[in-house]
Structure formats: structure tokens, C-alpha cells
């Protein structure tokens, strides 16, 4: 077993432990369990970083696994930073760890299923590819956070509609906070995704001018782009918010996940 694979296993284990504590808090347990659950993410993130440091040499610039490993790390770190910075304004934010950790874990596990790496011929290398990868990683992080917020929104709204005001209702953040956060995150993610789609199309043309402009996996990228664009447009133009916006966000994120899984299964470039 290499040090990198040992760190990979340890990171997965720490994420699983953190997630089990977070889920425990979601259904039972006090504030201290929520804090502990969120705090457990910190050592997991540290291991994750150590894994990245060890593996970075093995990874290729166009490697989807690298994208997923870095993206999932940025996701957990940005959540921890947001929970820390917003602890006074949004004291219930750490509970969202229960929805963010599984997404992080999924991305990280996908990063572990390596199937061979595509290489980029020297004659087509350009600045478009790193830009494409960077904006896609950042956009995906914003959408993953928005997804967690949307899941919490749907659950909280359901509790209120069903008039069940114990347990989950007491632990989840207020609806308006979730709605506002979700909107802000999609607003950040959408321009990044747009840039990602455009740079991706440019890159694809540069790589193989004879290939079709849109393949099966790219279709999901476009659907996600339309979904998030729709959520934003309807919110701004028609005040579309609340549950519908949350479900739109969840579907958009699901499309981006399908896109990523497609790349992983194909086992080639980003």
C-alpha cells in the first residue's frame, strides 16, 4: 500500500465518521453533536490535503480525477470557512455538513476510481484548458453548496407544511436564510458554469475540429446550465423562489453530477 492510497483510505474513513455524527445530530442529539460533526470535517480535510500533496505529481492537468479530488477538497474547505465566518449570523449552518459531506465523499471516491489518464498533444495545448478546468471546479463547488442548502430548504419547508416542529425543524436553519444562501450560491456558480461551457466548447473544437460540437455528456452540462439559468431568470423576473427554486437547484446539480460521472466512466480528460 502506497502512502497516497493509505491517506486516501484514511480520508474516506474520516469523512464517513464525520458524516455519521452529522446525520446523528440531524435526527437527535444536542448542539454539541452538531459542532463536533462539523469539527470532524477539519481533520478529514487535512488528510484530504495531504493526499492531494502526495498525489499531485501522479495527476495530469486534464485528469478528471484530479478535478474531482481538488473540487471536493475546495468544497469542504469553503463550507468550513463559511460556517466559521458566518457562525454569528447563521449559527445553524454547521448542520448543513450532513448534506455537504456525502457530496464531498462521492466526489472523492470518484476521484479514486482511476482508469487511465488521457494526454493532451503538445500542438493543441493552450490557456483555454486550465481556464475551463478552474472555472468548472469553482462552479461545481458553488453548486454543491447550493445543492446542500436546497436539500435543507426542501426538508425545512416540508416540516413547516406538515406542521412538525420538533427535531429537524429546530435544527435546520430558517427558510429565508436557506433561500437567500441558495440564490447567492447559484448566482456565483452560474457565470462560472457559463464560462466553463464556452471554454469547453472552444477546447473541444481545438482538440478535434471534426468531432460533433455536443456529445452525450456535454448535453447534461447544457441541461444543468439551462436549469440554473432558469432558476436565476425566474427568480429575478417572476420572483420564483422557495421550494421550486430549491428543486431546480437540486436538478441542476444532479445534471452536473451525471456529467462528472460520465467523464469518470469514460476515464479521460476534463
Amino acid at each position: 500500500m502506497t502512502p497516497a492510497s493509505a491517506l486516501f483510505g484514511l480520508t474516506v474513513l474520516l469523512y464517513v465518521v464525520a458524516w455519521s455524527v452529522e446525520v446523528t445530530f440531524l435526527f437527535r442529539g444536542g448542539e454539541s453533536v452538531a459542532r463536533r460533526g462539523a469539527m470532524l470535517l477539519a481533520p478529514a480535510a487535512a488528510c484530504h490535503l495531504a493526499f492531494l500533496a502526495l498525489s499531485i505529481d501522479d495527476m495530469h492537468a486534464t485528469d478528471i480525477h484530479q478535478v474531482l479530488a481538488i473540487g471536493s477538497f475546495l468544497l469542504v474547505v469553503s463550507f468550513l470557512v463559511a460556517a466559521w465566518v458566518g457562525r454569528a449570523k447563521w449559527p445553524k449552518l454547521p448542520v448543513l455538513a450532513a448534506f455537504i459531506t456525502p457530496v464531498t465523499l462521492l466526489f472523492f471516491l470518484l476521484a479514486g476510481f482511476r482508469r487511465g489518464v488521457g494526454t493532451v498533444p503538445d500542438d493543441v495545448r493552450s490557456l483555454v484548458l486550465p481556464i475551463h478546468i478552474a472555472v468548472n471546479i469553482l462552479g461545481e463547488v458553488a453548486f454543491a453548496l447550493a445543492f446542500a442548502v436546497a436539500v435543507a430548504y426542501v426538508l425545512q419547508e416540508r416540516q413547516l407544511k406538515k406542521k412538525k416542529l420538533t427535531g429537524l425543524f429546530q435544527r435546520l436553519p430558517p427558510l429565508e436564510t436557506l433561500d437567500t444562501l441558495g440564490f447567492r450560491l447559484v448566482s456565483v456558480g452560474f457565470p462560472l458554469l457559463s464560462l466553463g461551457v464556452v471554454s469547453g466548447a472552444l477546447w473541444a473544437v481545438r482538440l478535434d475540429p471534426s468531432a460533433p460540437a455536443i456529445g452525450a455528456t456535454q448535453t447534461f452540462g447544457l441541461i444543468a446550465w439551462l436549469m440554473f439559468g432558469g432558476v436565476l431568470l425566474l427568480r429575478i423576473a417572476a420572483g420564483w423562489r422557495g421550494r421550486r427554486a430549491a428543486i431546480g437547484t437540486m436538478l441542476g446539480f444532479a445534471c452536473t453530477c451525471v456529467l462528472l460521472v460520465g467523464y469518470v466512466v469514460r476515464g479521460s480528460g476534463a
Binding site: K161, K163, Q170, P173, P174, L175, E176, A238, G239, G242
Partner: protein
Amino acid sequence: MASELFVVGLSYRTSPVALREKLAVPAAELPAAVQRLLGEASLEEALLVATCNRVEIYGVASDAAASTRARGWLETPVGVGALGEHLYERNGKEAVKHAFRVASSLDSMVVGEPQILGQVKEAYAAASAGGALGGLLDRCFARAFAVAKRVRSETGIASGAVSVSSIACDLAKGIFGNLQGKRVLLVGAGKMGESAAKHLAKQGAKLFVLNRSHERAQQLAEACGGEPRGISELASELALCDVAIASTSSDRFVITVELMREVVRARKHRPLFLIDIAVPRDVDPRVGEMDNVFLYDVDDLGKVADENMSARKREAEAAERIVESEAKDFEDWRKQRDLKPLIIAVREHVRVTLAAELERTLPRLSGDKDKDRAALERMIDAMVNKVVHHPVAEIKAAAERGDLDVVVAATRLFPAVAPADVEGAPPVAAPIRRRT
């Protein structure tokens, strides 16, 4: 007899309000009342808790009749014997446990309500101001406050609101988070609606009062610190507000589905929390099915209150365990405290005896090693005789009259030298070797 802590009193569990109100003591008069109690009932320490749900005297005295005198003092406003069966009394550890339960809101009508802790703290401050607190009650109530804090932080006894006003407030916070600057619209002039609106306004919400009669709206707005609105402004105000409380006496729906469709469009789907406290209802129940509208009527609020109360009762079991353990710790401390004077006296007696012998011996020391050794051995014999003379005499006397308890106690006190054949004696330790 060592000083004992007791509590005598009556509460909503044992007496009607008609009786309790006769014993009421205004907060401002508590220090004077507790001072009177201290003198008239001849107590060493006293604390008087007087709330709308309970009147209790916590006292400390070294005679058994103290609680009877406290009962008599309590009966003064209503006549001797009038409280009879309504009074309860607890002594020692049970009294301490009762104080802990009261402060932790485990004995309250609404389990977990926070007011009682403040009231007990007021009683404590009054007793302190009245010079009625000594070591025992002071420590007991300091612990009671710590126990109450522990119970609130370690159990969910105080979670989940149980009154209409506080449930409305909890729900509004669950939707909007901070209520600062949120608009609350009170439709109608029902008492319960007014109370809920005031509760929300206390959290920083802006209040608007809407009524068929503008004059009534004006009056209510002044009473609640809000702004009046006419009934014709219902739709426009609903479009602007965040929380609406309907509490009219109308026999038809005041807020209909048709009206709300327009309102929701005008609000651009911003969430609206509708509380319908009216009976018959003011809001068409179908309104609750609309997106981003959260409708709660009286029954819904009642169910929430019941669920929260059940949850609190479940948590109360954990709280009782905390109280029991803390009461035991307090009792252990009290026993140690009662023994302390005896231990100090024993040590002082031995120290004074030994010091006197030392003073007598020192002038006789000459510097001659053999003579000084003989003098010091005589000093040791004299010290031993003086220190153990009385205990040995007592052991002999006890043995003569067949009181084996004293003999066994002696073997427990001096296990190193006790003979092995005394029944109940601990195992004999190895003899202590004298240094030569």
C-alpha cells in the same frame, strides 16, 4: 442537633389560586417579609419564594419544631389551620431536592418555563438583602441555580414553545430567522392575536393593526406600539407583511383563496406566515396548500403545544436524574460540613495538649544526650496519657456495660493496633516500628 434544612409551602398542585393569592407577597416587600419570618419563626436562615404558582418557606433551624413555626407564620394571613391539607413539608435531602426541582422548572405548571428561575433568584436576592441567608441556604440555592443551568443545557426541557404566542414566535423565526424589521399584520382585535402580535413586536418586528373600525385599530395600535390600517388595505398589507395574525369575530373567511392568489403574485412568492387564531376561522384552509404560504390555525398551534409539552416531559426524566445526583452531592457536602467543627476541635485539643507538654519539657533539656532522651520519653508518655486517657476510659466503660459498638468503633479508629478477635474490626495492619 445539627442545623437542618426544610421547606414548607403550597403550590398550584396542592391549593387553589383563591388561597394562594391571599398569601401573595409583592416582590418589593420580600426582603422585609423574610426578615419578619426569620424573627417570628425563630429560624437560623430563611428564604421565601412567593410566585403566583407557589408560596414556600425554605428554612434552617436546629430544632424539630421550626417547621411547625414556619407553618404558623405562613398561616398568619388566613388564620390558624386554614392551610392544613394544602401545605407540604420536606426535610433534609428531600428539601434540597425540592429546591433544585423548583429552580430547574421541573415542578412548574409548564415544565421547562424559564420564569421560575428568575423568581427564585429574586427570592434569593431578597433573603440576602434581608440578612436571612447563612452557609446552608446560601450554598443550597447557589447549587440550585447551577443545577438549573445544567438541566437547561444538558436536556431539551426548555426546547419547543408551549404557548400560542411563543409558538407563533418560534415558527416565525423558523421561517425568517431574525424578526428584526419584519412586518407583522394583526387582523382583528382578538385577545390572543394581540398577545401573539406583541410577542413578535418584542423581537423587533414592526406591527400593523388592521380592523373594520378604524377607531379600534387606532386604539389597538397605540396599545401594542403599532400603526393602524383600514380593512380596505387588507390585500395591500398582506402583500407587504411577513407574518399575518387573523383574529376577527367574522363568521366568514376574511382571507380567501382568491384574495391570496393575488397577494402571492404581488409578493413575488416571498414566504408568508399566516396564523389564524379566530374561531370560526378567518382564513380558508386551502390557503395553506399554496406555495410559500404557511398557515397555522388554533388546532395546529394546540397540537404543536402538546407535542412540545410531551417532548419536554420526556426530557424531564433526564433532568430528574441530574437533580437526584446533585442533591446527593449536596447531602454529602452537608454531612462533611457538619463534621468539620468536631474535626477542628479534636485537632485543636490534641495540638494544645502536645504543645503544653512540649513547653513543660523544653526547660528540662540540659544538652546531656541520655538525660534529654529520658526527658523526651517522659514527655511522650505524658502526651499519650493525656490524649488517649478519655477515649480509653470510654472504651473500658463501654466494654463493662457490654456496648460493643463503641469497642468496634475504637478498632476502626485504631486499626493498626486493634486485636483481631474483636467482631467487626478491620484487618490488623503491620505494627509501626519505633525508630531507635
